[in-house]
Amino acid sequence: MSGDAAGEGVKMRDLAIRDALKEAMSEEMRADESVLLMGEEVGSYNGAYKCSRGMLDEFGAKRVIDTPIAECGFAGVGIGAAMCGLRPIVEFMTYNFSLVAIDQIINTAAKAHLMSAGKLSVPITFRGAGGAAYQLGAQHANSFEHWYAYTPGLKIVCPATPYDMKGLLKSSIRDDDPVCFFESELTYSMKGPVPEGEYTIPLGKADIKKEGSEVTLISWSKNVFLTLEVAKALEEEGISAEVVDLRTLRPLDREAIFTSVAKTHRVVVIQEQHEVASFGAYLSHLISTEIFDELDAPIELVSSLEVPMPYSKSLESVILPSKEKCLEAVYRTLR
């Protein structure tokens, strides 16, 4: 793990993402009485994806709160409670369901601080799974992080590894602004090294997941793992790729992007979103206007096809970014 390693001599152990998330929430709840967790199935059921296993037993029903299926209602309650100094973690079983709460998130959580000239703040963390995950069908396979990333006032956190998940969730809970924190159904069981004991990762800091010199691959969330596969395949062909894991979209670590591009002069952005009006399209604009002179090739953007996600495996696999599509995009930048 590059970037913010926890320091020399710190003992590491392998932890699944769901357990890294549970540790982050539990540690913050032990440290701060104002932190609480609410959402569907978070208590008695131990979480739809078992991210809150054992938390009801440890913290009790006052702070680990099972809700009815009413995202708009409990998101609003969380926001109101945050205005009064509590630090709610609101779990969406998936971000697909957050759309019935989107007015509360965008029109209230994101804007209350501005509208009240700083008299109100909303230290809330929304978290849940986003993106496609093996044939969930059109209504359960959306990557909505860039919908939220469009909104000033929100912070958007999209980690990939267990280490990043834990460190960034702790920082999100402590942050005084509303945070949308994105996970993935596909990776809750994925294990990776996580240090024993306390650490946090600051929001707004990208991580170079693999150093390289000939092309910069930018991604976030679970696509980081696809991107690392692509980099490995390139390495075997003798092409040196650098993998920039953005980790947060707002605030965005522009310097990390510019530094990498200034080194490699070629960029491929790999995202699960559709291309039109997407975060990758914004990155392309940003790089091409801020450091145009550093570019030796047009910026490539690998996205999902412009169609709602159908169910069948044969269709889903051609719609999502694939290793092959990413490799072709890299080859185009090297022509």
Binding site: F74, G76, A82, M83, G85, H113, L114
Partner: protein, 317 residues
């Protein structure tokens, strides 16, 4: 009845009326932009309801918010300056007419999406109960809010979690220009309470004493038993939905029926009949002087510095 209380209620209602009459004038002079939704006619609701709250209680409302802000003790100068978009406004010119805030007085806005404040208010009450503050949240909304999703989800959670909140529907008979008869199948809005379930009440909004006594009962129910209440107050706005509303949906006679029962006029007459004519005149002069001072202050205040346009997007930003 306590004469001082009568004088306070008269003062507080008249203060809202005069504030808004001046706001309407400034709007026609194009000194106020955007939307301006006036509360004129409904003053007895905010003043009566807020007069029974304690200091630690919290108040939230929709976009027709000037009256609630003032009744909760909001500064008229900061309110008028906000309407003019000045940096001395209660939201430093960031909020505008629909987004007044006065957190020091536990006035939590001022929200512009119909029904959106209903779950938020449950959240305020949730925090009051969580922190054992012995506080109650009073949440206002219009009759136009009772069919939208957040209303139902907010009331469902308030009842389920036994939150110390009182929801008060100000039924002024029109959701913008659409009469209630087109949006609700009966004329008793309080029946919405039955399904959650929670206690319910109906109040005559032209009678400030009816407002006070029934809201007080609901507030006590919230404070002592953590039981929410849904209240319908039958009231009326004399002006259009906003300043842009030509009011083709009603006649002058429709409005006059209500003006004849105007709560401010009624209470003013009562003061006179109780032999407090001098006290009444004193209040009227005091209000007039305060509002004129508010207008002067707002007009003389500076606009926010353009270099601060991105301030308050984030905490510390």
């Amino acid at each position: 009845m306590d004469n001082d209380l009568l004088c306070t209620l008269y003062h507080d209602m008249l203060r809202i009326r005069r504030f808004e009459e001046e706001a309407a004038r400034l709007y026609t002079e194009r000194k106020i932009g955007g939307f301006l939704h006036l509360y004129i006619g409904q003053e007895a609701v905010a003043v009566g309801a807020l007069s029974v709250l304690e200091e630690q209680d919290k108040v939230m409302t929709a976009y027709r918010c000037h009256g609630h802000y003032l009744a909760r003790g909001g500064c008229s100068k900061a309110g008028m300056a906000e309407l003019l978009g000045k940096e001395t406004g209660c939201a430093e010119g960031r909020g505008g007419s629909m987004h007044f805030y006065d957190i020091d007085n536990n006035f939590y806005g001022g929200w512009g999406i119909v029904g959106g404040q209903v779950p938020l208010a449950a959240g305020l009450a949730f925090a009051q109960k969580f922190k054992k503050e012995n506080g109650v949240t009073l949440c206002f909304m219009g009759d136009g809010a009772i069919n939208i999703g957040p209303f139902h989800e907010g009331l469902s959670l308030a009842a389920l979690w036994e939150l110390p909140v009182v929801y008060l529907i100000e039924n002024n008979e029109y959701a913008m220009g659409t009469p209630l008869s087109k949006t609700f199948p009966t004329d008793d809005l309080s029946i919405r309470a039955l399904g959650y379930p929670m206690a319910r009440e109906t109040i005559d909004g032209h009678d400030i004493f009816d407002v006070r006594s029934k809201v007080h009962t609901a507030v006590q129910r919230a404070r002592e038993q953590n039981q929410p209440t849904l209240i319908e107050v039958k009231t009326y706005r004399y002006r259009g939905h906003s300043m842009a509303d030509p009011q083709k949906y009603r006649t002058k006679d429709d409005v006059n029926v209500h003006k004849d029962r105007d709560a401010i006029t009624q209470l003013g007459n009562k003061l006179t009949s109780l032999g407090m004519e001098a006290r009444r005149e004193e209040i009227e002069e005091q209000v007039e002087s305060e509002i004129q001072e508010a207008v002067r202050f707002a007009e003389e205040s500076a606009f926010p510095d353009p270099s601060t346009a991105e301030k308050y997007a984030y905490v510390g930003g």
